[in-house]
């Protein structure tokens, strides 16, 4: 039993933290979000070249630094602390996850491109009708010759505006909500028939509605077996959930510490408002939520290597804890900041917005409770 980090992992953390401290202040972030292209490619280049962190979680054989889940956790927590919008989650965690676990023709090369900061991926899985059910797919990939023809509409694809490639779930068979018949494809965003409508999201990220109209794909675009990709999608989603939990821990820490800090300085009735016991206990409960979230993030990260059922149970349990913590800590951070909490001018509100979005990311608290129940208590009546 060991919860400590290796020297390499600690260095990784320090490297990112110090880069972000210099280059990703609240004002720098805001400036970047306020003008075209609404993200900062130079930050991404720095991740690739100057910091060399995009390969941290890839095997050495593939040009990476030989890390894995723990490295993703370390990186994501730091990105959370600075509210980084650049697409590490979509590119390295999710894109990288599919390329590592699913057999595909161009994986080697694509991983090289990711590590070099050239390829940027976004995960197009949700559909307008499907809510959080990843099996609920109307997007189809019809077999044609040796390849496929892709048609459909993917909803709120985070990071798609910056992406070079999309990872797309689609039906090569089966009914709308069946487990079988799901396949995964990697699609260049520039492919003919791909159109997007880009927009900002409330937390400063950007996303797209993505439409596929008779997009021709070669067989080599498929990742994993035809019609059998659901277990692969579940696995990568759980990895994404663990990484998102880590990001959330960074966000929650800033919310919790920022609130303690603010209440110590803010005076009312001649005393710092941190001297009011009700606010003290509220902040203690925020702190407890943070600690429990860290614990669950460790738990889920460690269990990513376990069998499917254990891994899924752990990821859903962690997401439930994180979802509740994001709501409780976020709302109370704003409440304790009073009027300052609801202005656009202070960082606290922006952490709150990200925390709120994380609540629903990859499935709401209710969604993951239901998933957990089936795994822990069996199917209901």
């Amino acid at each position: 039993m060991d919860f400590s980090f290796t020297e390499e992992q600690s260095m990784l953390r320090d490297t990112i933290a110090s880069y972000l401290a210099d280059n990703y202040s609240f004002d720098q972030r805001r400036a970047g979000l306020g003008r075209e292209p609404f993200w900062r490619p130079n930050v991404w280049s720095a991740f690739a070249d100057e910091l060399g962190i995009l390969g941290a979680a890839f095997p050495e054989a593939q040009g990476g630094l030989g890390g894995g889940y723990t490295e993703n956790m370390v990186v994501m927590e730091e990105l959370g602390k600075a509210l980084v919008v650049e697409p590490y989650l979509g590119t390295v965690v999710i894109g990288g996850g599919f390329l590592k676990h699913g057999a595909s023709a161009g994986a080697e090369e694509m991983i090289g491109q990711i590590i070099a900061g050239k390829a940027i991926l976004a995960f197009a899985y949700a559909e307008p009708q499907g809510r959080y059910n990843i099996r609920d797919l109307k997007t189809t990939a019809r077999k044609e010759g040796t390849g496929y023809v892709l048609n459909g509409h993917k909803a709120v694809v985070t990071g798609a505006p910056y992406a070079t490639h999309l990872i797309v779930t689609a039906r090569t068979g089966g009914g709308q909500r069946e487990a079988g018949g799901i396949s995964v494809f990697i699609v260049p965003k520039s492919a003919k028939g791909v159109t997007t409508r880009d927009y900002p999201t409330v937390d400063g990220f950007r996303a797209s509605e993505v439409y596929f109209e008779n997009v021709a794909l070669g067989a080599e675009a498929r990742i994993g077996g035809e019609g059998e990709a659901l277990p692969l999608v579940e696995k990568v989603m759980d990895e994404a959930i663990a990484a998102t939990c880590a990001e959330a821990c960074g966000v929650l820490r800033r919310l919790q510490e920022g609130t303690v800090e603010y209440t110590k300085q803010r005076k009312q009735f001649g005393v710092p408002i941190s001297s009011f016991q009700v606010l003290q206990h509220r902040m203690v409960d925020m702190f407890i939520q943070l600690e429990q979230s860290i614990s669950m993030t460790y738990m889920a990260t460690i269990r990513l290597s376990d069998g499917d059922a254990e891994r899924a149970k752990a990821a859903s349990a962690a997401k439930v804890q994180i979802g509740k913590a994001c709501k409780f800590v976020g709302q109370n951070a704003v409440q304790l900041h009073g009027g300052m909490g609801v202005t656009d001018e202070m960082a606290i509100g922006h952490y709150f917005k990200r925390a709120t979005m994380i609540e629903g990311l990859f499935g709401s608290t209710d969604h993951h409770l239901a998933r957990y129940e089936v795994l822990s208590l069996g199917t209901a009546a």
Binding site: D136, K267, Q331, Q335, A370
Partner: protein
């Protein structure tokens, strides 16, 4: 004990309902539905229609333009407005300043200011909070020094900063708490001034709130000259006015009627959204339960308000118990916003603003729900945070 409205109240409700249906401006409704930012004229147009009808200031004394409605009629009025999704008349002039004016103002002040408020001519804003004084209002620092002007008249020269001034960007006039005696105890050196917002030295600066909107402002006062006759009540006794203002119009604070309408909308939305298993969201066991629990809590709040109202009818004024209405009312509003955002699923994320209407990005009903949720956090903060309300109940009701 019974819940029946007597026949005259039923007739009144029908009258109100018909009036609203026939007179609410169509273009205003359409703008609301599109989620457009409303202009000053939008707000005032409805106010002026009500003024013409004589219903713009129901709670005022009848001789000044009030309606003389019973508490039950006022309750019906607010229910029906919510049912019809109308804008409310802005509270700053009608509900907040006017009672101070007709209670503490001189005859001249009343005649000068009340008609413009009642008829929707003057737009008023509030100058209470300061950067350093939120819940602790009495610690305000904006300073007013008395001088004799070159014209031989008496003035106050006001310097300082006010903040959280809602819709101050449109204001013609503002009512301000200022410190006229810096040496007195905090509450004893404050005066209540009416200030022309076009006065030289006033600057209004936008505060952008979390959801991107412009509702509140900073107001900077730099050597602003205010004629002494614009002071309400005695010098250094403005706190008396401030307290009276806070005690007025607590009814309606619970927002029961608006929340009922919000609940209806939520149920409608959940009947159109899909759940994970492909059924409707309102059929999802856990979502329905949250809706049911909210509906029950709202019923409890409604009856607590009715009990307060009944107490008022029988002559007992609304006591500090009305802090309960504030606490529960805002909690329920926030839960409604929370559930609506949850219901929207993925489409809670897009930040489309007014461009979202008919954009085809997500269903119409999910437009800007996140914004409502973010912006709604303020309701448990302003008007005395819910923590302050609990302090009040503890002291005034439980006697601790």
């Amino acid at each position: 004990m019974n819940l029946d409205f007597p026949p005259e109240d039923t007739a009144f409700r029908d009258e109100v309902r018909t009036f609203l249906a026939e007179n609410y401006p169509r273009d205003l409704r359409e703008k609301q539905e599109r989620g457009e930012t409303l202009s000053k004229e939008d707000y005032l147009s409805w106010h002026r229609i009500l003024a013409k009808k004589g219903w713009s200031a129901p709670s005022w004394p009848v001789e000044l333009g009030g309606t003389g409605w019973t508490p039950t009629q006022k309750y019906i009025w607010s229910e029906e407005q919510a049912r019809a999704d109308t804008l409310g008349v802005l509270p700053f002039g009608v509900s907040m300043l006017a009672p101070v004016l007709y209670t503490f103002g001189t005859e001249e002040q009343k005649q000068r200011f009340l008609p413009g408020i009642r008829d929707g001519i003057d737009w008023w804003c509030q100058g209470y909070s300061e950067p350093g004084s939120g819940s602790d209002l009495a610690s305000l620092k904006t300073r007013a020094e008395r001088i004799t002007g070159d014209d031989g008249k008496e003035y106050y020269v006001v310097n300082g900063q006010k903040t959280w001034t809602t819709l101050g960007q449109h204001a013609d006039w503002g009512f301000f708490l200022v410190r006229t005696d810096p040496d007195a105890k905090p509450q004893a050196g404050i005066s209540f001034l009416l200030i022309d917002m076009k006065s030289p030295g006033i600057a209004v600066r936008r505060i952008t709130t979390l959801e991107g909107g412009h509702e509140v402002n900073d107001v900077f006062l730099d050597n602003v000259k205010v004629p002494v006759e614009n002071r309400i009540f005695h010098e250094n006794q403005g706190w008396t006015c401030a307290k009276a203002l806070l005690a007025h119009e607590r009814s309606g604070i619970a927002g029961v009627a608006r929340s009922k309408r919000g609940l209806e909308r939520l149920r409608q939305m959940a009947s159109n959204e899909m759940s994970d298993d492909g059924g409707t969201l309102i059929q999802d066991a856990f979502f329905r339960r949250k809706v049911a629990e909210l509906e029950i809590d709202l019923t409890a709040l409604e009856f607590t308000e009715l009990r307060t109202l009944a107490g008022e009818s029988s002559g007992k004024g609304p006591g500090p118990e009305s802090s309960i209405l504030k606490i529960k009312g805002t909690e329920i509003q926030q839960r409604l916003q929370d559930l609506a955002l949850e219901a929207a699923g993925h489409y809670g994320a897009p930040f489309l603003g007014e461009a979202g209407h008919n954009s085809g990005i997500g269903p119409q009903h999910s437009l800007d729900l996140a914004g409502d949720y973010f912006n709604g956090r303020k309701t448990s903060i302003y008007g005395g945070s819910n923590e302050i309300q609990r302090n009040i109940i503890s002291k005034m009701v439980l006697g601790i």
